[in-house]
């Protein structure tokens, strides 16, 4: 099962790099959306691997709250851009 975690970590590094590197705000937002989903998937996979479901609950919460927060942030950025 370790190869799953390794590959997911590799996939997580790409949007992180993009988020730090990119100057364009929407590319950054895209990268953060990807980071949010991927990290919660990583948490879920680890919780299955270790058979510890309290970690799994944290993963599902991160999934819901992270995406909702990014949605609000996108709306805010759009409003700020208008001014």
């Amino acid at each position: 099962m370790n190869w799953i975690i390794g590959t997911m970590l590799l996939a997580l590094l790409v949007p992180m790099y993009v988020a730090f590197d990119s100057q364009h705000i929407w590319q950054k937002m895209l990268a953060f959306a990807s980071v949010s989903t991927k990290s919660s998937m990583l948490i879920l996979a680890i919780s299955v691997l270790r058979d510890d479901w309290t970690i799994g609950v944290v993963g599902v919460l991160v999934l819901c709250v992270g995406n909702a927060a990014l949605m609000l942030l996108a709306q805010t950025i759009k409003q700020v851009d208008k001014w």
Partner: protein
């Protein structure tokens, strides 16, 4: 035995989707184009991985089903919101 193979296939497909869809983020395409490939990676790839985990360990199915549903709905809606917000400046209606 069959269960283990099925679960491994699901997880492998999900990982391939994840890597393939994340790679275009590094390129210099438009936000919308990257959003298409991210919808392959983050929504479909992650869903395949969760289904694989679900087949492997069905004991805690409520949590994983909830993860599956919230993955499908939140990611899709986030994609729509990002597409809507990022095209604001270019089109006037």
């Amino acid at each position: 035995m069959v269960v283990a193979i099925l679960s491994n296939v699901c997880i492998a497909v999900g990982l391939v989707f994840l890597l393939w869809g994340t790679w275009p983020l590094l390129g210099k395409r438009s936000v919308l184009f990257k959003l298409h490939s991210l919808s392959v990676a983050d929504t479909l790839g992650s869903m395949a991985i969760v289904v694989g985990l679900l087949i492997r360990i069905p004991r805690e199915w409520p949590l994983l089903v909830l993860a599956l549903i919230s993955l499908a709905i939140w990611n899709t809606i986030l994609g729509y919101v990002l597409a809507y917000c990022s095209t604001e400046g270019r089109t006037n209606d």
